[in-house]
Symmetry: D2
Subunit: 442 residues, 4 copies
């Protein structure tokens, strides 16, 4: 982001509002106008940045990142932002997405004699930009964008500017907000809102936005393609207050719940959401079905990070701690349990077991997205096909496995309609296998 | 708690499940059968206890505590459990509540030549117990209970036993859970449940429970009084899965919402809760009124602890970060905003202002408890009378101040009925000024 | 200390200069004129106090402490300063020494109904002072001093003054330094010197010094006794730049080395000290004997705190890391090894073994204090008699056990003369068993 | 290092013994046979590595590093070891020295399209090795060694081997130690000794040593050059127990002291070293001159790291804390002050001032190395020429500036003789400007 005042504390708040997108590590790079200073670490944003090190990150331009370390092999070198130095220029980059030709590009570069210092795609992108850079950063980014394939929303920092860019199909979200003093680019508009940005819009597919103290300039990669926004953002990833590419996550989820009831009603006493992403859908399901909505599972808000798990017994305790069935609500009741998706099926099975133990007499599971049958190659952390329960079992077999009284998924058609966008401009590859960018599996 | 296996990791999980009762400091004392070892610290339970220090806390008996440092003057010596040594005995205590004759007892003891080492009532209780102890801890506790007046739920640890005791009116909650291997006493049953206790009950008003490796023994202070459970636990303090003294917090809140609608309906498009405690009430209000329930405020789950607040601007950011109005839900809508209480009125005013900015056309505030007109002397952190808005302004004046289109509180009668208990066995002093134990204001 | 400017950072530096007196825990209490604020912790002073918490300790009056946790049972409650509240007064105390009638006083008080909250004598002293306090703190301290027996140098903090007091025989050291703006009381003058105190003197045996913003007042307990300063301070405890009760540690050690040579010369090639306390003595021995002085053992300066010791092998590594024999110096040489004392004998045996492995052909051990035959009851951490090698074996037996070619201790007479003070005003109980204050062994 | 047992704890101890070579940051990379895991951080080795993260660094092969962050711009990306990935190989490197053609190589590579991620030469070396690697790591290293110019001692880790290599002139030290189970390569033999290596030797100039579980193989770059070992290692950098390239630091320093007396005697009462590096020289000076040796400056061992320095006053306190003049030793005495070198002159001036304040009547400064007139380009952190006092002032002018009664440096001839090596195989560029490798100043 850019700010007329010091940027690091504002970035701290912005990163905090995006903490749900990654809780295990984070970092920030700030430019003081002459050079970049970076600070990275493990844990939540509030654990990494303290008053003294925020003060040390002086400057009006900065970028930040939060991530799951797990998806990065728990290696410190994979924590972003990355740094790059080339021809007297300093670069830093933070990235969300996945580059499907990452390994091919990397192998080709390695054969050419390039050494990498992380195992993440971000480094390849930064490398290409730095290599193409010839005084005009937007040109360098355009060249890099022509080479990399996949999903990406990224911010690049130099000593006097920040440049944001989004892949030509807009798979991963990216927004920009500004007011008289500040400009912020972020994955979700929550960051913009808490910083009081009066204007907020999506960065468009293929758009490149350059932010300097003099203002914002927009550029486009030639030949825009049909957008293919990740629909799973609305299902699970984004916070419910996110409005990404004109679709609001909360409303989308609510409508999914409504349509799901219309398609697969059930005769129950209560509609119970799996928090947090299941809540809006359960509201919709409940309202459409005129069945009372109820909080039947209580979430422990203070156990974000997994911790000590020496024995199997304690591992189970740790899971229990996160979600506690509310006996007095569930006892003697037939319930519809609303969840956003079933991936491996193990969580659902465990949950239904505990809900039954708490006294529910029937558990009808309703899933507000279609069966996940294909892995994601664009940045969502899904397991391989053999671990996707819906890729291997029929719906009836899944129902049996998770021990539900009935099980239904939303239909692909209703799912699309829930966006309220006529045209299908979404990537739904995890559901239908139609990969907008060919995955390259090595 | 007692466990046939090591107690410290289980206590860690139990304290975690009670983290909502105090997020700023915590501690644990464990007995290895011969001596007590204590570890205290600042922050969340997961920040204070790490694998190595949990391993160092060896033993089968232990107690723990979480607290708000703020209510303790931010002084390290006020973090519990406290330790006491007397006549070759080691004691440790953790306490919830407030002793109204604390200052009188303390002054009297000070005049007698006693020095204190903290500024909290817990120390006076521990002192009395240690003084009265003559080989029979239950007798000592009984003697102390006859002297101290107020609300208290406490656990006392010695090298070979743990004793829990609750004040004669049962003002503060206390539960006990057990299975074949473990016994746990906790403020709320969530702790028991996540540890898999198959039997759970309330510790009764005036009950004293002694837990050793040989089992559980129950004692009673003579002359049980009419119970006066803190009703505010159900309103706000306890987590919604708590069932305390036969009343479940979730159901109570839901019923309050229902009755509130019946008493003070309003013609709106949406019912919006202030999370988290307003959620069940909003569900009840919505269902009774047949008005759609909606999530209109999104809570940031990762900003539990307040942090850096150098400037007014950043202080406001920090508040914004905690609760973000959901524009797409609120825009153009008339809403009923359901909150558990109004204390100072500043939070409500700020919230309504931001909800209007997000586009709501009308905001009708509904409060699921009566006006808070009197300070609590039994452990709830309320300000003095002059800062209680309802003690100083009429409802209409409050409405004007917080800029609501309408404002209504639940009636005392409906509030009582929401417990489903016929008899009024509750302390509602903060609402009606009927203090079950005379507050002694010095 | 008192300072016209903020006291906490100066205390930080002072505590750092006294770090050699205790490396495992520390703390500080500061008065802002109205109330006391305390901060305690584990580790070195630089680990406990950071910029932010020093800033939070605002005030012009403060006290601090460093200690060995080990001697305090590794219990957090035994870390000083302690706090006390009595009759609207706040007290904090930091203490060095040992009270021989501590257990008697404590037992008596316990029988009277007093509970303690630590296991250290400091608490008993603070308790007595608080009990006797009646508006005149010096009177209260005098009364306490009449009751407690043993060695003590202590500083007591109230909201508007600091009072230092020293036992009537001056067993433990205590100095005071002042300039126009600051007054500091410390165990050793190093603290005064680094803070630039232009005037420094010993606090006298039985002296009580009251420090306020208005200056320093001195009081005396009636009936001063013959001083019995701990001679072991000069031998080992104090840093070599300490001048305590007119005797400088460096010069004392050097003279002990000289006299030791005169009494027990040996025909060797090199004089090698065991660092750090053996260095001045080895210089004296070398100069008197005209035998070259050499550094034969190199100390690792970065391994102050013991750390991980999972296996016996690693435990030995940890010891090795602290002291490395310098092969090129020792090889083929006959050496005189100068150490300050032999307590258990195990360290000497280990060291001589490693010196021989490094190639020394003869190792003649010379000890600059007489054999330690009696435990200390005044604050030095010595083992019980059965673990004192000199209490159980003859000098020849010790020599055999540690495998030295010869072994000699300084004579008691020379040892006394090394102080350059005619009169024997020292406690040498660990050497001769003449306890100036009857030890009370329970 | 390689170990048949787990390597991380042994590396921890080894790094600790080399802590004097860099106190501000450190790191370790360990191979579990399949992949490398790295952990880096700020502070002392004991602060960075705790029991749990040492346990996480599983494997039999590992490398580590300690460094001054200051010389690395306080940037986290410059903390070593670095990681590199190329053609399915993982590399990690730790490096001591300086590459004089670093900027030229880097610029050339940058022009070729290479991006760097740190600002240190280590990265260029690693890059070249990774680029040249074709299955034979020793060949790749040889190729890299032909390109890089300057001083270097480095260890490279792959998943199944560690390779150490030293520049063809052996400017920076490097030793190897081994026993039946372990092999360790380290800058100084202290690391080998504390780990109990029974065999220790120097790695020779231009030597490349490959260590696998099967043993040690040695290779040489063709055409060995005349060695030019850094003589400043013996003067100041190495710990006194280091024996590097057949010369022992302690003995060298002692001889320098002897020769210095012979060349520049002075009529004084005491010989006082500036600790720690001045001690052996002061011993030599004292013995040759038959003038008593004395500890006149006491070093605070617990203030290794600089800390808070808000004001000029506190900054001075921090300096004072490190070295305290021993009044009782210095008072009324004429002293010879022995230091290893004069760089900027400010420290000497400050020290002499404080020694005079402590009562010394005359201060004759004797420096055990020749005047430092030229900056080092091979890894020693010296300032630029304009800040080297001896490059700008005559000896008499320096004497005046530092206010010494007399000042003398050792002669270059005596300095060389102190090595006891006939042939001049040393780099003395900082003294005589004869740079063995042309410095390239950009």
């Amino acid at each position: 982001m850019f700010s007329n005042s010091s940027v690091s504390t504002k970035l701290f708040f912005a990163l905090n509002s995006l903490q749900h997108r990654g809780q295990e590590s984070g970092g920030m790079t700030v430019s003081d106008g002459e050079k970049l200073i970076r600070k990275k670490g493990q844990g939540l944003v509030i654990d990494i940045f303290k008053e003294d090190n925020l003060n040390a990150l002086k400057g009006n331009l900065g970028i930040g990142h939060v991530s799951y370390t797990a998806s990065r092999g728990n290696q410190d070198y994979n924590v972003e932002p990355l740094m790059g130095f080339a021809k007297k220029n300093e670069f830093s980059i933070a990235f969300d997405g996945n580059i499907v030709n990452h390994q091919i590009l990397r192998t080709r570069l390695e054969e050419e004699g390039i050494m990498f210092q992380t195992s993440i795609a971000t480094e390849v992108i930064l490398f290409l930009i730095a290599r193409y850079y010839n005084g005009y950063i937007v040109d360098a980014i355009k060249k890099a964008m022509k080479v990399i394939k996949g999903s990406y929303s990224a911010v690049l920092l130099m000593n006097n500017k920040m440049v944001a860019f989004r892949d030509p199909m807009g798979i991963r979200p990216l927004t920009i907000g500004y007011n008289d003093n500040d400009v912020i680019v972020a994955s979700e508009n929550a960051a913009n809102e808490i910083l009081g940005m009066t204007n907020t819009r999506d960065i468009l597919p293929g758009e490149i936005v350059e932010v300097t103290k003099d203002g914002i300039k927009s550029f486009f990669l030639e030949g825009p393609k049909k957008p293919r926004h990740c629909i799973f953002e609305y299902v699970y990833v984004a916070r419910e207050d996110a409005t990404l590419d004109k679709v609001n996550a909360y409303n989308f989820r609510r409508r999914c719940g409504e349509y799901l009831y219309l398609e697969s009603p059930c005769d129950v006493d209560l509609v119970v959401p799996v928090p947090d992403s299941g809540i809006p859908s359960a509201i919709g399901f409940s309202q459409e079905g005129k069945i009372p909505f109820a909080t039947g599972l209580v979430k422990n808000r203070y156990m974000g990070r997994s911790f000590i798990k020496p024995t199997q017994e304690l591992r189970e305790l740790s899971v229990k701690l996160k979600l506690n069935p509310l006996k007095t609500v569930l006892e003697g009741k037939r319930i519809a349990l609303i969840d956003d998706s079933i991936v491996r099926g193990t969580t659902s099975a465990n949950l239904i077991k505990r809900i039954r133990e708490a006294g529910a007499t029937e558990v009808h599971m309703r899933i507000t997205s279609p069966p996940v049958c294909y892995p994601c190659y664009y940045g969502i952390d899904t397991p391989s096909r053999k671990n996707l329960i819906a890729a291997n079992l029929s719906i009836e077999e899944i129902r049996e496995k998770i021990d539900a009284d009935s099980l239904a998924f939303i239909s692909p058609d209703a799912f699309q309609r829930a966006t309220l966008i006529r045209e299908d401009r979404y990537c739904k590859a995890c559901f239908d296998g139609n990969y907008p960018v060919d995955p390259i599996i090595i």
